[in-house]
C-alpha cells in the first residue's frame, strides 16, 4: 500500500544561492498538490529534487518511506518545461518510445493518443506540431505508462480550454485511482486540491 511522498524541512540551493529552507510537505495517495510561487522561487528545482535529480542541501525527501533510489525512478513520471521530444522524429515514434521506455506498450500508447485526440497528428514530425499539440504528445506519456507519482511542471500552459478540461479529467481519474500529483503552476488547475506557495527571491 502506498504511503506517498514526504518532504521534511528541505533546503535547496542552486549555483551558490539557497532557494528555500525548512520546507516540509506531505503528499498522500489520491492527493493533488499544486506549487505556486514567483519565477525563480524554486518550483522546478523542488520537482527535480523530488524526482531524485538534485540532492538537497539538507532535509529528506522520502517516497514510500524510501530515499531516492531506482525503485522511485520507476514509480514516477517527471514532465518538465522541456519535453525531450525530438523534432525530426514523428509523433508516433516518439510517443511509442516514451511509452515503451516507461513500461507501457504500443497499445497503451495508441490508447493514450486517442484519449488526447492525437491520432490525426501521429504521422507528423514533432517539429511540425503546434505548441499545444506537442505538449499533448508529451502528456500522452503519463497515460500510456501508469506510474503512481506525477511531477508536472506547468502541464497545461500551451493547451486550449477544451484540452485543459480533458486533461483535468485525466488527472482526476489518476487521483481517484490512488495516484499522486505534484504540479508547479502559475494558473490554478481545474481540480480541487491543496496549493503550496513557495516563497523566495524572484
Amino acid at each position: 500500500m502506498l504511503t506517498g511522498l514526504a518532504v521534511e524541512n528541505l533546503s535547496l540551493a542552486r549555483g551558490h544561492r539557497t532557494l528555500f529552507e525548512g520546507l516540509s510537505l506531505v503528499l498522500e495517495p489520491g492527493e493533488l498538490l499544486s506549487l505556486t510561487g514567483a519565477n525563480g522561487a524554486g518550483k522546478t528545482s523542488l520537482l527535480r529534487a523530488a524526482a531524485g535529480f538534485i540532492r538537497p542541501q539538507s532535509g529528506t525527501i522520502r517516497f514510500e518511506g524510501q530515499d531516492a533510489d531506482d525503485a522511485r525512478a520507476e514509480a514516477l513520471h517527471y514532465l518538465g518545461h522541456q519535453d525531450g521530444l525530438k523534432p525530426a522524429r514523428t509523433a508516433w515514434e516518439e510517443l511509442c518510445f516514451q511509452a515503451e521506455w516507461c513500461g507501457g506498450s504500443r497499445d497503451s500508447a495508441r490508447a493514450a493518443a486517442q484519449r488526447l485526440a492525437l491520432e490525426p497528428l501521429l504521422d507528423l514530425e514533432i517539429r511540425k506540431l503546434s505548441a499545444g499539440q506537442r505538449r499533448r504528445v508529451a502528456l500522452a506519456r503519463l497515460i500510456s505508462a501508469p506510474r503512481p507519482l506525477w511531477l508536472l511542471d506547468e502541464p497545461m500552459a500551451p493547451l486550449d480550454a477544451e484540452r485543459r478540461s480533458v486533461f483535468g479529467t485525466v488527472m482526476a481519474e489518476h487521483l481517484s485511482g490512488g495516484g499522486m500529483i505534484l504540479a508547479a503552476v502559475h494558473d490554478p488547475l481545474p481540480l480541487a486540491g491543496r496549493a503550496l506557495q513557495i516563497g523566495g527571491p524572484a
Binding site: G15, H16, R17, T18, P201
Partner: protein
C-alpha cells in the same frame, strides 16, 4: 592521517607552518643539488650537456608522481564528496602540468645536442607528451565548468579515468617502441649511471619532491580560504 586532516579546520590549523617550512627545506636542497650538479664531472659520453639531466629527470619523475597525487585526491573527493580533497586536486593539477612542461622542455633541450633533433619519437618522450595532454584536458575541463560542485565531480571522474589510462599509455608506447626501433641512438639513462651523477640527481629529485609538497599545501590552503570567502560574501548578500 588523511582522515585526521580531512576536517578543513584541523587541516588549516595543522598546516599553517608546514608550507613555509617545507619551502625553506626545498630551497636549501635545491641550492645543494644545483651546486653538486655543476661541480659534478662532465659525462665522458655526453659532455657538459649531461647537467640538464639533473633538471630534467626529476621533473619527469615528478610529472608521473604528481598525477598519482591528483588521482588520489580525486578519488577521495569523488567517493567521500570531500571538499578538501577536491581543493587538493584542484591545487595539484597546475603543478603537475608545470613539471611535465619542464620535463618536455629540458628534455628536448637535451635532445638537441644528443640526438641532433629537438624531438624524437622515443617511447618515454611520447608517453610524457601524452601525460601532458592529460593534464591539459583536466585543466581545460576545470576551467569550462563554473558550478563548483559539478566541476569537482566531473573533473574527478576525468582524473580517475586518466589515472587508469596513464599506465596503459606507458605500456602501449613501450610496446610500440619495441616494434619500431626509435631513430635515437642514445638509450635514455639506464642503470649505467655514474655515482658522481647519481648523487646530485637524487638530491635534486628530493628537492623537487619537497618543493612540490610545499607548493601543494600552500595552494590547497588558499583554495580552502577562497571557497570560505565566497561563502561569506554570499551569506552577506543574503543568499540572493
Amino acid at each position: 592521517m588523511i582522515f585526521g586532516l580531512a576536517n578543513p579546520q584541523r587541516f588549516m590549523s595543522a598546516t599553517r607552518w608546514v608550507g613555509p617550512v617545507l619551502g625553506g627545506l626545498a630551497a636549501i636542497l635545491l641550492a645543494v643539488g644545483i651546486w653538486l650538479s655543476f661541480t659534478a664531472p662532465p659525462d665522458y659520453q655526453q659532455g657538459e650537456s649531461v647537467r640538464i639531466m639533473f633538471v630534467h629527470v626529476p621533473a619527469a619523475w615528478m610529472a608521473l608522481f604528481v598525477y598519482a597525487c591528483l588521482g588520489g585526491a580525486s578519488f577521495f573527493s569523488l567517493i567521500f564528496r570531500h571538499a578538501l580533497a577536491d581543493a587538493a586536486a584542484k591545487a595539484a593539477a597546475p603543478l603537475g602540468a608545470g613539471f611535465t612542461a619542464l620535463a618536455l622542455a629540458t628534455g628536448s633541450l637535451w635532445g638537441r645536442p644528443m640526438w641532433g633533433a629537438w624531438w624524437v619519437w622515443d617511447a618515454r618522450l611520447t608517453s610524457v607528451l601524452i601525460l601532458f595532454f592529460f593534464y591539459l584536458g583536466y585543466l581545460a575541463l576545470r576551467a569550462a565548468l563554473d558550478d563548483a560542485q559539478r566541476a569537482a565531480r566531473a573533473s574527478a571522474i576525468l582524473a580517475l579515468v586518466g589515472l587508469i589510462n596513464v599506465p596503459i599509455v606507458h605500456f602501449s608506447v613501450n610496446w610500440w617502441n619495441t616494434l619500431h626501433q626509435p631513430a635515437s641512438v642514445f638509450r635514455l639513462g639506464g642503470p649505467t649511471i655514474a655515482w658522481s651523477l647519481l648523487l646530485p640527481l637524487m638530491i635534486m629529485a628530493l628537492a623537487y619532491t619537497v618543493l612540490f609538497f610545499a607548493l601543494w599545501i600552500v595552494r590547497t590552503r588558499t583554495e580552502v580560504i577562497r571557497t570560505r570567502a565566497e561563502a561569506l560574501t554570499l551569506r552577506r548578500a543574503g543568499g540572493a
